[in-house]
C-alpha cells in the first residue's frame, strides 16, 4: 500500500512539503522469515509520524533500515533524498536516533559522551559548547554531566541519548519506544520538546506502544502488521476505519485482532 498523504491541520502552515523519509517497496527477509513486506512510506518535513503495531510487526526492522543499521533485502529507503545504501554517509548526517535501550559508554562522563558524539559529526568546539550546555539543561542532566555514565539510572541514560541525538541538529529523528524509564515529568518534557522541534521543521518517525502518546503527538500514524503497512492517516482517519467509535487503543486492537491471537506473532 502506498501511503502518500499530506499532513493536515497545523502542518498545513509549515514549510514546503518535501519527503524527508521515503521508502519504496522496502523489504527485509531474515532467512525464510519475511520481516517487512514492500513498505511504501513517505514522511514530509515537519511531520511526526507514529508507527503502531504488535510485537514482531516489523517496526524495529524498519527503523534499523532507516538508520542504516541494517540493509534492505530489496527496495529503497531514502532520508532527505539520500539513499541509505548508496549515499549512506550523507543520509546519516541528517539523521538522529534514540534507541529503546540506551547502551552508552559506561566509562565516559555524560559530557564526555556528548563531546565524543560531537567529534563523530565533526562539530566545531564553539558549537559543541553552546549546544551541549543547552541540551544538558533542557534534558535536566546538567547536574550529573561530569559523572560516569555507569552510575546513571535508565531514565538518565535515555535523556542523555536524547541530548546526543539532537547535538548535531538533525533534520530527521527516528525514535524507538523512547518512554521506557522516563518518569511522568520527563515524559511530558520530552513530548513538549519533540513537538516544538517538529513545529520548527524537524521530521520524526516514532515507534511506540503507548497509544495515548501517539494519539496526542502524531500528525499521522501507520499501523504495521506482519511486516505490512495496513493503514496510514491522521488519528481521526484511523479511528474512522473501525466498526465502532472508540479510543485509538480500541481501534488498534480491532485492526490487529488476528495478530494478537496468532501464536506465531509475539505477544
Amino acid at each position: 500500500m502506498t501511503a502518500v498523504r499530506t499532513a493536515e491541520g497545523r502542518n498545513a502552515t509549515k514549510t514546503t512539503p518535501r519527503a524527508m523519509i521515503e521508502t519504496v517497496e522496502l523489504t527485509k527477509r531474515y532467512g525464510d522469515k519475511l520481516a517487512l513486506d514492500r513498505l511504501d512510506l513517505r514522511i514530509d518535513r515537519g511531520e511526526l509520524f507514529c508507527f503502531l503495531g504488535p510485537n514482531g510487526a516489523g517496526k524495529t526492522t524498519t527503523i534499523r533500515m532507516l538508520t542504516g543499521l541494517a540493509r534492505p533485502t530489496s527496495g529503497t529507503a531514502r532520508v532527505g533524498g539520500f539513499d541509505l545504501v548508496t549515499d549512506t554517509i550523507e543520509a546519516k548526517r541528517l539523521l538522529g536516533y534514540v534507541p529503546d535501550t540506551p547502551h552508552l559508554y559506561d566509562k565516559l562522563t555524560g559530557r564526555e559522551f556528548l563531546r565524543f558524539v560531537a567529534g563523530l559529526y565533526r562539530l566545531d568546539e564553539g558549537r559543541f559548547e553552546a549546544l551541549s550546555t543547552e541540551l544538558l539543561e533542557a534534558f535536566e542532566i546538567a547536574a550529573v554531566a561530569d559523572r560516569l555514565v555507569e552510575g546513571y539510572s535508565h531514565g538518565m541514560r535515555q535523556k542523555l541519548s536524547f541530548a546526543a541525538c539532537f547535538l548535531h541538529e538533525p533534520q530527521v529523528v527516528v525514535v524507538d519506544e523512547p518512554w521506557v524509564g522516563l518518569d511522568p515529568k520527563n515524559i511530558r518534557a520530552v513530548k513538549r520538546d519533540l513537538r516544538r522541534r517538529v513545529d520548527a521543521g524537524l521530521t520524526v518517525l516514532m515507534s511506540t506502544h503507548t497509544l495515548q502518546i501517539a494519539e496526542e503527538l502524531a500528525d499521522r500514524v501507520g499501523i504495521l502488521h506482519r511486516g505490512r503497512l495496513l493503514h496510514t492517516g491522521s488519528v481521526a482517519e484511523i479511528k474512522a476505519l473501525a466498526a465502532r467509535q472508540g479510543s485509538l487503543e480500541d481501534v488498534f486492537l480491532e485492526l490487529t485482532h488476528d495478530a494478537l491471537h496468532d501464536p506465531e506473532v509475539g505477544a
Binding site: I89, L104, Y105, E112, R115, F116, G119, L120, L148, E150
Partner: protein, 579 residues
C-alpha cells in the same frame, strides 16, 4: 520435566553454546571450513613440532650418557614438563580470576539469577563449570598434541593416554577453584571500600615488581661456555619441582604413567583430584557466604558517584592525539579514557610491559658472551623473539578485543556519518600507537648493547616495527571478522575461536620473521668468522647489505600480507554487519 537449578543452569549454558555454534554455521559455511582447516593444521603442526623437538632432546641425552638407563634427555624432559605444568597452572589461575570475576559479577544475566530462589553456592557452581570449560579448552587444544608426542617420544605404555584424560580435569579445576576463592574474598573486601582498591593496586604492583625482580635473575641467559652453567639450568628449572606444587603432582603422575607405574600414577591423581574437590567445596562455601553480598557491593559501587582521577594523564593523552583529524581524534580519546578507567585493563598492560623491560634488561647482563660469533646471533634472536612474543601476547589480549568491546554500543558508531572501514583503521592506529614505542626503544637499546653492526641494528628495529604493524593488523582484522558484541569481558572475548586463531597466526608470523632474522645474523657472523680464520677468499660472496635488504623485503612482504588480508576481511565483515 523437573530439573534442579544446577542442572537448569548447565542446560541453559549448553543451549546457548549450541545456538551460538548454529549461528556461526548459518552465517558462513566458508568461515567454518577455514577455521576448522586452520585449527586442524595448527594441531598437526604442533604435534609434528613437539615430536621433532622432544625426539632431539631424547636422542641428544642418550648419546651424551652413552645409553645409560636414565639419560640426560629424561632429566631435561622431566624438568621441562615440571616447568611447563607450573606455567600452565599459573596461567590458568590468572585467566580464571578474570573469567570468574566477569561471569559472577559483571554478566548481565546475573541480575536475573541472583533474584531467583537458587542457593548462592549452586549458582556459583553453575558459573564455575562454565568458567572452567571456558578457560581450559584452549590449553587442551594446544596441550594435547604436545602430550601425545611426549607419549610417543618416551615410548609410553597405553596407560599414559587415558591417564592424560583423567589428570587434565582435576588439574584445571584446582587453579579455577583457588582463583574463585580469591575473587570472592577480594570483591567482598574491596568493593564496598573504594579507597582500599588503590592500596590493593599499589600492593599488587609492588608484589609484581618483586616477582619480576626475582625472575630477572632467573631469566638471565645461561653461559653455556661454562661447564657449571648446565647445573645452573637444572637449578633454575628445579624450582618448579617442589613436591607441594600441584603442577608437580601432575608431572610426577604423568611421568609415572609414562613409565607404566600404575600405583604412583594413581597416588598423584588422587592427590590432585581430592585437592581439586576440596578447593571446589571451599569455593562453594565461600560463595554461599559472599556471592550475594559481593554482587550487591559491586552493583552499589557502580552506581555510586566516583571521583575521576588521572586528569593530568588523560590531558597528556588528549594532547598526544590532538593533532589527529575528527572523528579519529574523538574515537581515540574515547578508547583511551575507557581503557584508563578500567584498572583490570591497564594493570595487565603495565604487567606485560614490565615483563618485557625486566627480561631485556636482565638478559643484557650476559651480553659479553653473546657479542661473539654465532652466540651473538642467537643472543640477538633470543632478545628479538622474547620481544615479539610479548608483543603478540599484548596485541592478542588488548588489540583483538577492541572492536568487540564496542559491544551493544556499536549502534553509536554505526549511526554516525563515518564509514565502517574508518572504525577498523582507527582501532589499527590505536593498536600501533599503543604497542610500538616501548618495544622499539628496548630493541634499539638491546641492539646497541649487543654491538650489532649497523645493518643488523636497522634490521632488528625494522623487524620490531613491522611486527607491530603486522600483529596490530592481524588482531584488529580478525577482531572485526569475529566480533563478540554480547560479551563485555576482554578475557572471554580473547578465549574464543577468533582470539585463539589470532594468537596462533601471530605465532606463525613471528616464527617466519624470527627465522629470517636469525638466518641473516648467523650468516653474517659465520662469514666474519670464516674471513678472520681462512681469509677473505673463503667467505661467501653475498654482500651483507644485500642479504639484509633481501630479508627486510621478505619481512615487508609478510607484514603487508598480515595487515592487508585480515583487515580487508574484517572491514568487509563490519560493512555487512547488521545491528
Amino acid at each position: 520435566m523437573r530439573r534442579s537449578p544446577f542442572a537448569s543452569l548447565l542446560w541453559a549454558q549448553r543451549r546457548r553454546s549450541a545456538h551460538a555454534l548454529a549461528a556461526v554455521r548459518r552465517e558462513s559455511l566458508l568461515k567454518v571450513v577455514i577455521v576448522s582447516v586452520a585449527a586442524l593444521g595448527i594441531w598437526v603442526a604442533l604435534f609434528v613440532g613437539a615430536d621433532l623437538i622432544l625426539g632431539l632432546v631424547e636422542d641428544l641425552g642418550a648419546e651424551m650418557l652413552g645409553g645409560a638407563s636414565l639419560s640426560l634427555g629424561d632429566l631435561v624432559m622431566a624438568r621441562l614438563l615440571s616447568t611447563l605444568t607450573l606455567v600452565l597452572f599459573v596461567l590458568l589461575a590468572f585467566s580464571n580470576v578474570l573469567v570468574i570475576y566477569a561471569s559472577l559479577f559483571r554478566a548481565s544475566d546475573m541480575r536475573l539469577l541472583v533474584q531467583a530462589p537458587i542457593e548462592p553456592d549452586v549458582l556459583f557452581l553453575g558459573r564455575f563449570v562454565e568458567a572452567v570449560v571456558f578457560s581450559s579448552w584452549a590449553t587442551a587444544f594446544l596441550g594435547s598434541p604436545v602430550m601425545l608426542s611426549w607419549g610417543l617420544a618416551t615410548e609410553a605404555p597405553p596407560l599414559f593416554y587415558p591417564a592424560l584424560l583423567l589428570f587434565y580435569p582435576a588439574f584445571v579445576i584446582l587453579p579455577a577453584a583457588l582463583a574463585a576463592i580469591a575473587v570472592l574474598l577480594v570483591v567482598r573486601w574491596l568493593a564496598p571500600r573504594r579507597h582500599r582498591a588503590r592500596w590493593a593496586i599499589g600492593v599488587g604492583l609492588v608484589a609484581a615488581g618483586a616477582l619480576l625482580g626475582t625472575l630477572r635473575g632467573r631469566l638471565r641467559a645461561p653461559d653455556l661456555a661454562d661447564p657449571s652453567s648446565l647445573q645452573g639450568v637444572f637449578e633454575a628449572l628445579g624450582g618448579s619441582q617442589h613436591p607441594l606444587l600441584p603442577s608437580q603432582w601432575l608431572t610426577r603422575g604423568l611421568l609415572a604413567a609414562a613409565r607404566g607405574d600404575t600405583g604412583e600414577a594413581a597416588f598423584h591423581w588422587l592427590l590432585l583430584a581430592t585437592s581439586a574437590a576440596l578447593a571446589t567445596y571451599l569455593a562453594a562455601m565461600t560463595a554461599r557466604a559472599m556471592l550475594l553480598p559481593g554482587f550487591s557491593d559491586v552493583a552499589g559501587a557502580d552506581a555510586a558517584p566516583k571521583a575521576l582521577g588521572g586528569r593530568s594523564i588523560l590531558g597528556a593523552l588528549d594532547a598526544l592525539v590532538g593533532w589527529m583529524p575528527e572523528p579519529t581524534r574523538s574515537m581515540m580519546r574515547k578508547d583511551l579514557r575507557t581503557f584508563w578507567r578500567d584498572p583490570a585493563q591497564w594493570s595487565q598492560f603495565l604487567l606485560f610491559f614490565g615483563i618485557l623491560g625486566v627480561y631485556l634488561l636482565g638478559a643484557q647482563q650476559n651480553d659479553t658472551l653473546q657479542r661473539d660469533g654465532a652466540w651473538g646471533a642467537w643472543g640477538s634472536g633470543l632478545h628479538l623473539g622474547a620481544t615479539l612474543l610479548i608483543l603478540a601476547s599484548l596485541t592478542s589480549r588488548f588489540i583483538f578485543p577492541l572492536v568487540s568491546l564496542e559491544g551493544r554500543r556499536f549502534w553509536i558508531l554505526g549511526l554516525a556519518p563515518i564509514g565502517r572501514a574508518h572504525i577498523a583503521w582507527q582501532k589499527f592506529a590505536l593498536g600501533v600507537l599503543a604497542t610500538a614505542p616501548l618495544p622499539i626503544v628496548l630493541a634499539a637499546i638491546s641492539a646497541r648493547r649487543l654491538e650489532l653492526a649497523p645493518a643488523e641494528l636497522v634490521l632488528s628495529i625494522f623487524t620490531i616495527a613491522a611486527s607491530v604493524l603486522a600483529l596490530s593488523g592481524l588482531s584488529v582484522g580478525l577482531g572485526a571478522l569475529y566480533p563478540r558484541f554480547d560479551d563485555d569481558s576482554p578475557a572471554r572475548i580473547v578465549s574464543g575461536l577468533g582470539g585463539t586463531l589470532n594468537f596462533l597466526l601471530g605465532m606463525l608470523y613471528i616464527f617466519l620473521v624470527l627465522a629470517t632474522v636469525i638466518a641473516v645474523l648467523l650468516r653474517s657472523r659465520l662469514d666474519e668468522a670464516t674471513e678472520a680464520a681462512l681469509g677473505p677468499a673463503m667467505a661467501t660472496a653475498l654482500d651483507p647489505l644485500l642479504l639484509t635488504g633481501a630479508a627486510a623485503t621478505w619481512i615487508f612482504f609478510l607484514t603487508a600480507l598480515a595487515v592487508y588480508v585480515p583487515m580487508r576481511l574484517g572491514i568487509r565483515h563490519l560493512q555487512r554487519l547488521e545491528l
